[in-house]
């Protein structure tokens, strides 16, 4: 079995699954409580998982394997990277349920069922150790998300739900063909084995592209990011939180788990492509974010920019870059989730996302303004918040590979500060323009209970990131070692500085004479 004596990962999948089915058959209020309880149980199980995770121990822990199916098996197991992403998922899920507590009034049972199913699939994606099991979890997420956007979304929800579904499906199907080829070639569908398998270099290029098609859409990278703003704007608040918080991370996770270790040569060959797309994304989407009048759209575009920082970090092929990318993923999961919650809070009061309708909220909603400010700063990457740690490391990492990429992406950070501060100024500062805005009450207890935990974790990650980086260190090291042989030289040629030598060697020799 594993370290705990019971299959904890399967249990973490079973709890929300059972709750999801139960939600379909009960009334609205019961469904809310069942969902909250199930997600809290999963969060507790997540904490147990983290406590018992042996940092620096074997790479794959809590491994479970059962030959339940033909051609692929029920194989679960996590390394530090998966652990952190699972923690992110189980941490955000109860918050999502809480955020939907009052906002969702129609078909509550089905809504909660869809969310719990999402949780199953998200945990499954990060825990799967069989490549086909991974694919099933990865793709299956489309169905509940399609329903969440389509049933409970905004005015233009149908268009957004179709776009989301078809974009991501088209991106992913080619990956399946690549997986078939890989499994045929390597003779196993076991992910850890495949990660160490050396695929022929000429095949790697095709395989890499097939996987890239999927992960780039999921990530999303420019120019296939266009589904994201639509999906975000139309999705209900909790849907946006889960979309930005966890679903986008699946793309980054895919790069770390598949593209980089399985196709190292091809990853280096296509580094220019990733860096170029990321550079465009950072600047272009940041500029777009500057001119948005819809809050959710602005944050959606900022997500694209942040995800580009993740991709440059990943394709820096060094420890700083990889760790930075991972921390950005975690941090962005929290911060963008929190920002969408902040939008949700005022949307619930005024039912508009138009930035111009608001203003002066710091006068009548001081607590809200404070928390919103914190998350704004974390999104910008202010030192002391989680955003800084990740972005700094990513950019340091990529500077070694391409100073141009580092310079352009740093510009993006400045633009990021511009659009976020501009947003904050328009929403929170200035004078209150209308009576209905003035009548908006400050955060209630439920909303504080949703936002405060995220705020604390954001600060924790900003001040002491070691807690989050320690479990991942060994896995990043393994990946770095895998990439070491193919690592490009880079143009910056960063060298460790030398301490000045006080007495030149030749001189010393002379002295002996």
């Amino acid at each position: 079995m594993n370290e705990l004596g019971f299959p904890i990962l399967s249990l973490m999948l079973a709890v929300p699954m059972a709750a999801s089915i139960a939600c379909l058959f009960v009334g609205a209020n019961a469904a809310r409580w069942i969902a909250l309880l199930a997600t809290l149980i999963d969060f507790a199980l997540g904490i147990v998982l983290w406590m018992h995770f042996d940092i620096g121990g074997v790479q794959w822990q809590f491994v479970e394997k059962a030959a339940l199916f033909d051609r692929f098996s029920w194989a679960l197991g996590i390394d530090g990277i998966a652990l952190m992403l699972i923690m992110l998922s189980v941490f955000l899920m109860p918050i999502c349920i809480g955020a939907s507590w009052e906002a969702i009034q129609t078909r509550v049972g089905e809504y909660m069922a869809a969310f719990l199913l999402m949780e199953v699939l998200m945990i499954g994606v990060f825990a799967a150790q069989d490549i086909f099991l991974f694919y099933i979890f990865f793709e299956a997420g489309l169905i509940p998300m399609y329903l969440i956007i389509g049933i409970w979304g905004g005015a233009n929800r149908i268009y957004a739900s179709y776009k989301f579904f078809l974009f991501t499906l088209l991106g992913s199907v080619l990956m399946l063909i690549a997986m078939f080829w890989m499994v045929n070639e390597a003779g196993t569908s076991d992910i850890p084995t495949l990660m160490a398998y050396d695929f022929p270099v000429e095949a790697q290029a095709w395989l890499w592209l097939a996987f890239f098609a999927s992960f780039a859409v999921k990530m999303p990278m420019w120019p296939v990011h266009t589904w994201l703003p639509d999906a975000h704007v139309q999705a209900p608040t909790a849907g946006s939180v889960i979309l930005a918080g966890v679903l986008l991370k699946m793309g980054g996770y895919g790069f770390i788990r598949f593209s980089l270790p399985m196709f190292p040569e091809a990853s280096v060959d296509y580094m220019w492509l990733v860096l170029a797309l990321s550079m465009v994304a950072v600047v272009y989407t940041s500029l777009i974010a500057l001119v948005q009048s819809d809050m959710k759209k602005l944050i959606a575009y900022s997500s694209v920019a942040h995800m580009a920082i993740v991709t440059v970090g990943l394709f820096a092929f060094n420890r700083q870059g990889l760790e930075g990318a991972l921390v950005v993923m975690l941090s962005h999961g929290l911060v963008s989730g929190a920002l969408f919650l902040c939008v949700g809070v005022i949307y619930d009061r005024l039912h508009t996302r138009e930035i111009d309708r608001y203003g002066g909220l710091s006068i009548n909603m001081p607590r809200y303004a404070l928390l919103f400010l914190l998350f704004t700063m974390a999104s910008i990457g202010l030192p002391g918040t989680s955003g800084f740690v990740g972005e700094f490391l990513s950019l340091v990492g990529v500077y070694e590979v391409s100073s141009w990429a580092a310079i352009v992406c740093t510009t993006g950070i400045i633009l990021g500060a511009a659009y976020m501060l501009y947003l904050y100024r328009r929403v929170a500062y200035g004078v209150i323009k209308s009576d209905d805005v003035a009548a908006m009450p400050d955060l209630n207890k439920r909303e504080i209970a949703l936002l405060l935990p995220i705020a604390l974790v954001v600060l924790w990650m900003g001040v002491y990131p070691e807690s989050f980086m320690a479990p991942m260190r060994k896995d990043v090291g393994a990946l770095e070692a895998r990439l070491a042989s193919v690592k490009p030289a880079g143009d910056a040629q960063v060298k460790m500085g030398k301490a000045p030598v006080l007495m030149p060697a030749a001189h010393a020799e002379e002295g002996h004479h």
């Binding site: 033909d70 051609r71 299956a140 169905i143 179709y162 199907v173 399946l176 078939f180």
Partner: protein, 487 residues
């Protein structure tokens, strides 16, 4: 010469033949009132044949398979598995029929008997290892099917469907027969193995024409593009239980027949027919996807969906490998469950006066008025689209896996990318049911049998189906192995 053994090998068809003749007499004397009795007896006979086929499939002493009637007929695991699928589909279509025909009092004892005749024909088709058995089986199935299509004599659409089906079917039979005669003329034999041997040292131009004509005729029967034109019209016009039948049993039988012809008779000359199959497969996938988008009628939509799915199954044939054949059988099993389930859902869509509802727009908001049915139909739609974790994905999984293993990577890549087109219209049905405001047209179900069948098939294509893969794979692999016995 061992007649006892031969009769034993053909026992499923013999049981059905004798039952059908006796039942015909009962129907002739009993009149309309006997339809209930005849239906029950037909289902019983089919269950008997089903049990015999299961015995052939699972009993190790029949593992090798055997020829009967001087190489006209072959019983092996491939035939048995196909027959099981055919019999199960036929049983389903008979069970759901009485409720449908009850409105207007149109149920006749001939309905189950005609289904039985067609089923006997299909049993012969999947066991045929000779061009003559092939043709006799095919015609027996087709003639019964033409009558079934126009079973609602007073309904113009049904009569039109029957006529259309007959005229085009006769044309296809002609093409097929012409191909068969060319094959016979150029190889001097009607036996599949004989043809394979004759093809051992190359295919003459005349025989090549024969292959093309035979494959065209068979493509008509499986409604593959470019011989698909009859499908939407016939599916729409025929009474829904009959459409359910057309979409399942004959598809299985014709596909199994195509596999046998391609792999046994033309087995040595894969290069000759492979490009035809690849074209037909891709054309079916793409046209089945694109043409369905504009459909307003759910039966027409499902017709295009079946064209689309046939394309995916044909990808397995294009590989020409054992893995490909096994994948096709797996896909066929899942396809039958999905199609049966979705058509029974359609059968259950009736308005308050009991009239059948076929317009997709009238399904609006079905998830609020009939949550169970909407959920089942959504499961079938996502499954037909091949979205994991539903079991329909597994069919595509094995087929594309076989294609990649056979080195047909461009085919697999184009095919799977084109499956996204299909996803669009399946999503449309889900969208109408779940996102739109209720139209409140559909009345509650009045048939427990239908609900039971829907539940059963929905559970099979739900993720629970994956637990069946361990049991299913040896069966389909065994069937595929039987197909390659001469290779």
């Amino acid at each position: 010469m061992n007649y006892a053994l031969w009769f034993q090998l053909a026992s499923p068809e013999i049981v059905l033949s004798i039952s059908s003749l006796v039942l015909l007499l009962i129907a002739a004397w009993g009149g309309v009132q006997s339809s209930r009795l005849v239906s029950i007896l037909t289902v019983t006979a089919l269950f008997g044949a089903l049990a015999l086929s299961f015995n052939f499939l699972l009993n190790p002493s029949f593992a090798e398979g055997a020829d009967a009637f001087y190489g006209q007929y072959r019983m092996d695991r491939f035939a048995s598995l196909s027959k099981i699928l055919v019999f199960l589909s036929a049983i389903g279509c008979i069970i759901v029929a009485p409720k449908f025909f009850a409105r207007g009092n149109l149920m006749r004892p001939e309905y189950p008997i005609l289904v039985l005749f067609a089923t006997i024909g299909m049993g012969l088709m999947v066991s045929a290892v000779d061009l003559l058995t092939l043709y006799v089986g095919l015609e027996m199935q087709s003639l019964a099917a033409y009558v079934l299509a126009s079973f609602l004599r007073s309904d113009d659409r049904s009569a039109e469907a029957g006529l259309k089906y007959f005229v085009l079917g006769a044309l296809a039979s002609g093409i097929l027969l012409f191909g068969l005669s060319l094959l016979y003329g150029f190889t001097g034999t009607t036996s599949f193995i004989g043809i394979q041997t004759a093809f051992g040292d190359g295919v003459s131009t005349g025989a090549l024409f024969g292959i093309v004509f035979v494959l065209s005729g068979l493509a008509f029967k499986i409604s593959a593009v470019p011989f698909h034109m009859w499908t939407p019209d016939v599916y729409e016009g025929a009474p829904t239980p009959v459409t359910t039948f057309f979409a399942t049993a004959p598809k299985v039988a014709a596909m199994a027949l195509t596999m046998r012809v391609a792999i046994e008779a033309f087995g040595g000359q894969q290069a000759v027919w492979q490009q035809i199959v690849i074209f037909v497969a891709l054309a079916s996938i793409i046209l089945g996807g694109v043409a369905a988008i504009g459909q307003q009628n759910i039966k027409r939509l499902l017709a295009y969906s079946s064209i689309n799915n046939i394309g995916f199954i044909l990808i397995g044939l294009a590989t020409g490998t054992e893995a490909g054949a096994s994948a096709m059988m797996t896909y066929l099993i899942i396809y039958v469950a999905m199609t049966l389930g979705s058509f029974i859902c359609v059968l259950d869509l009736n308005d308050r006066e009991g009239r059948p509802v076929e317009e997709i727009s009238k399904l609006a908001g079905l998830s609020k008025t009939r949550p169970g049915l909407a959920a089942a139909l959504a499961v079938f739609m996502f499954s037909l689209a091949g979205i994991p974790p539903l079991f329909g994905f597994w069919g595509k999984f094995v087929v594309f896996d076989a294609a990649v293993a056979a080195g047909l990577i461009p085919l697999a890549a184009i095919g799977i990318a084109a499956s996204v087109i299909g996803a669009f219209y399946y999503l449309k049905v889900v969208k109408v049911m779940y996102f739109d405001e209720p139209a409140d047209v559909i009345a509650p179900s009045d048939s427990a049998a239908r609900m039971a069948l829907v539940t059963l098939t929905a559970l099979f294509v739900s993720p629970l189906g994956y637990f069946a893969t361990l049991a299913l794979s040896p069966v389909t692999a065994g069937a595929a192995k039987a197909l390659f016995w001469a290779a």
